[in-house]
């Protein structure tokens, strides 16, 4: 378990807050500005979107749902295989294919674009593979180069295309940052086909894709066609990038692959759940992004989708059960509080022990001296005990309740057993064992204590000659009879 100090946690909160803050800032700023221009437009747009009033909205919503599902699902494989940036290179590399697809018959023909982009994407990833295999360049350099090189070629083609009289009206520029409202019936048909294909293949070949991602060598020994599976996955990824282009845009489509899947990775321990969560988060981010970009007139869709996905990620990063930063910080904090409380209990026990348990209570002053604290700090610790019902405080006298007594005795017992174990079994010198026992006493569980007892043959004295509190002491208050108190666990019943 990673222990977080408050300053660390503060840092996280700071950065997380900054992130969320920036996101919400943009959204409010953007809403405010749209409000400035025309008061009614964004409200009518919102209503238009939410009621799915006309086909263009319905297409946009349906399209973003489909692309979110496909990207979130397939992104899962990229994230667990540490290939996220392959997705980035792939998504930039499709641009020349998109431009050539436009060139095919000088208008937006989804099938031509789909084919062109797929070919370009596969060519790009193939080249990355070839460069890393035949040269000394590492994968990062090859990816960066292909990403930017193909993108540059695509920009050249686009600038040539836009020069043509028909070029500007075709909406090729919408492919850079995405425009959900430009999704048409033809696009939807294509997206549906691809989504069904992807879902079908992943369902059928889940086990194969899982093994090939987890342990390719073993997959090969299992006689799986690893090469075909890898290529197949790459092809599906290319498909997912290509259908997402229209709505998310070339530049940011990789984020729709990475961010929802990474968010899902924080939420679960099983691959199939991760894929499902990824698809759901992708879908939600897609629709949210489309909605936000609908509010303005010339707002691109892609960046809004990406920011929605990032917001989901930040939430998961901070609050994911068990693994989120804040649950972890909280667990570490409550453990610290418990340790302090146990140390106070131990101090009370030791003060009473020094007086051979002739008294029932200790004064706050004695406790403060023993714990080397100021009066106020000791008071705070006592209050914490009282709040947990471990002690009662009358004036400045602190007395342990039965449950407090039980806890205190068991901590002392853990400490002394551990010291004894270290000196006997590990042969450490008696003056070297205290610090270690100070830490271990709070962690030892019931089972470990039983084992220790058995190994130490139910000894009753620690290396420094002090008695180890026996079990009935833990379960009830000592009655002053020290012979009985020192009886071992085994003989008590």
């Amino acid at each position: 378990m990673i222990r977080l100090t408050p300053s660390f946690a503060g840092q996280f909160l700071g950065i997380g807050g900054l992130f969320v803050g920036l996101n919400s800032l943009t959204m409010t700023v953007c809403a405010a500005r749209i409000g400035d221009i025309t008061e009614t437009v964004w409200q009518t747009q919102a209503i238009r979107f939410l009621t799915l009033a006309d086909p263009s909205v319905r297409f946009a919503v349906f399209g973003t749902v489909l692309l979110g599902i496909v990207c979130g699902l397939l992104g899962g494989f990229l994230v667990v295989r540490r290939m996220s940036l392959v997705g980035d290179a792939l998504s930039h590399a499709v641009l020349p294919g998109v431009a050539l697809g436009f060139l095919w018959n000088m208008e937006k023909d989804p099938v031509a674009i789909f084919i062109g982009a797929t070919v370009a994407g596969l060519l790009g990833t193939g080249l990355v593979h070839l460069i890393t295999r035949t040269t000394r360049l590492k994968e990062d350099a090859a990816l960066g180069m292909i990403l930017a090189g193909f993108f540059g070629a695509g920009l050249c083609l686009m600038s040539m295309f836009q020069r043509l009289p028909t070029g500007n009206k075709t909406g090729i520029d919408k492919f850079l940052f995405g425009q959900a409202s430009a999704i048409g019936a033809e696009d939807i048909r294509l997206m549906t086909v691809v989504t069904v294909l992807v879902l079908g293949l992943i369902c059928v070949g889940y086990k194969e894709f899982l093994l090939v991602s987890f342990d390719p060598g073993f997959a090969k020994v299992c006689a799986l066609p690893t090469r075909w599976l890898q290529h197949g996955l790459m092809l599906l990824l290319t498909f997912s990038v290509v259908i997402a282009l229209q709505a998310v845009g070339v530049v940011l489509v990789s984020a729709m692959l990475i961010t929802p899947a990474a968010t899902a990775y924080l939420l679960t321990d099983r691959m199939h759940r991760m894929l499902i969560y990824g698809a759901l988060i992708g879908m939600l981010s897609g629709v949210t992004g489309a909605f936000l970009s609908f509010l303005g007139t010339h707002l691109p869709t892609g960046p809004f989708m990406v920011l929605s996905a990032s917001s989901f990620f930040v939430v998961a990063f901070l609050f994911a059960p068990n693994r989120g930063v804040i649950p972890r910080w909280w667990m570490a904090r409550s453990q610290r509080v418990r340790i302090v409380r146990e140390n106070t209990l131990k101090a009370v026990y030791q003060i009473l022990e020094n007086e051979e348990f002739r008294r029932e209570s200790v004064s706050l002053r004695e406790l403060a001296e023993r714990r080397r604290l100021t009066f106020d700090e000791a008071l705070r610790e006592v209050r914490s005990l009282v709040s947990m019902d471990f002690a009662t405080a009358v004036d400045d006298l602190v007395a342990l309740t039965p449950s407090g007594w039980q806890r205190a005795a068991s901590i002392v017992r853990n400490h002394r057993l551990w010291e004894l174990y270290l000196t006997h079994a590990v042969q450490m010198a008696p003056d070297h064992v205290h610090d270690d026992a100070e830490k271990i006493e709070h962690i030892l569980g019931e089972d470990a204590v039983r084992q220790l007892e058995r190994r130490l043959e139910f000894a009753d004295r620690d290396p420094h000659g002090r008695p180890i509190p026996a079990v009935q002491v833990i379960h009830g208050r000592p009655n002053g009879n020290r012979e009985k108190r020192a009886t071992g666990y085994g003989k008590s019943s």
């Binding site: 996280f12 990062d140 070629a153 850079l176």
Partner: protein, 317 residues
């Protein structure tokens, strides 16, 4: 008007250096400066296997620039540099925090951090479209042809040239200076970080300074080539040089040659096809990489083929 313009040798090869020199001269110079400055820092990125940090920084510099502009209302050098450096530092910190405190790996952390910041930048530009002197096109493409048109900068009565070119020149000079001064520290920390820190070099500091150096280079190149093509400018010269030589000094030299060649040939290509000049420079740069890949002395496909023929098949994989 056709897709590929009519070929005119005079217009493509002669005019840029004679009649239109006042326009194209600055463009070629700017492209060279961008390629050279980016290529120098890019060599180190490749050496340290951090090429994709270059990708991340070049994207995330965008919101830095936009926010700096919105805050100060000017496109001066200082706010732009400050914004870019702040964005670069924020990116590295975000990546660190994400991959250190969750099980998300570094690659995904890079992807998440830069795409969010870039998206933020694009949205800011879209929303403040009428106040920010940037459009989405410029973000991707740069506006190389507009650079010679801006009023030249003067210093002590001397006319120096367009401010972007002067700035880029200073950055290149600064990069050369850094390399000359810290050549052995940079080399050691890139080659063997463990030994470097054993000898007292703070690898964290070197990493962070490299990121700042990178962000300054990227932001000065931004105006000319935009946020994405700058990755090509960062990686292509170094990658090409890496296929030619094993020694870092020689690689640095070759990356300058690559920058110069892609600037000049890119200009001719862009005039010939009447397309985006920055895109054309990248295409030529990729082409030069391809040439080095095929004909390179060690890794080159031709030399590999040759050695396979010479040595016989059994020594090869």
């Amino acid at each position: 008007m056709s897709f590929i313009p009519h070929f005119s040798a005079h217009q493509i090869f002669i005019a840029p250096w004679t009649t239109d020199f006042s326009l194209y001269g600055w463009m070629v110079l700017m492209t060279f400066l961008v390629g050279a400055a980016c290529g120098l820092v890019g060599n180190y990125l490749i050496l340290r296997r951090m090429a994709l940090m270059g990708d991340a920084i070049s994207h995330s510099v965008l919101p830095g620039i936009v926010v700096a502009f919105l805050v100060t209302g000017s496109r001066g050098t200082v706010p732009m540099f400050a914004g870019a450096v702040a964005a670069a530092v924020l990116t590295t910190v975000l990546i660190e925090v994400i991959h250190r405190h969750s099980r998300v790996k570094q690659d995904a952390a890079i992807g998440i951090a830069f795409s969010s910041l870039f998206a933020l930048g694009v949205i800011l530009i879209a929303v403040f479209a009428d106040t920010v002197d940037l459009d989405q096109d410029c973000v991707l493409n740069g506006e190389l042809p507009l650079i010679p048109l801006s009023p030249p900068m003067t210093l002590a009565g001397m006319t120096l040239g367009p401010p972007a070119v002067v700035r880029m020149g200073c950055v290149l000079f600064f990069s050369c200076g850094l390399i000359v001064l810290f050549y052995k520290e940079l080399l050691l920390s890139s080659f063997d970080p463990a030994l470097a820190s054993a000898m007292g070099l703070r690898s964290g500091w070197i990493h962070q300074s490299l990121m700042i150096w990178l962000s300054i280079t990227v932001v000065s190149a931004f105006e000319a080539v935009g946020a994405i093509l700058v990755i090509a400018m960062l990686i292509l010269p170094g990658a090409t040089a890496a296929l030619i030589s094993d020694r870092l000094v020689v690689r640095l030299g070759w990356s300058l040659v690559h920058a110069a060649l892609s600037a000049v040939l890119g200009l001719h290509l862009s005039i010939g096809l009447d397309c985006s000049p920055s895109g054309a420079a990248v295409v030529v740069g990729s082409f030069l990489f391809g040439v080095a890949w095929i004909f390179g002395p060690q890794d080159g496909l031709v030399s590999r083929w040759w050695s396979r023929k010479e040595r016989g098949p059994e020594t090869l994989v």
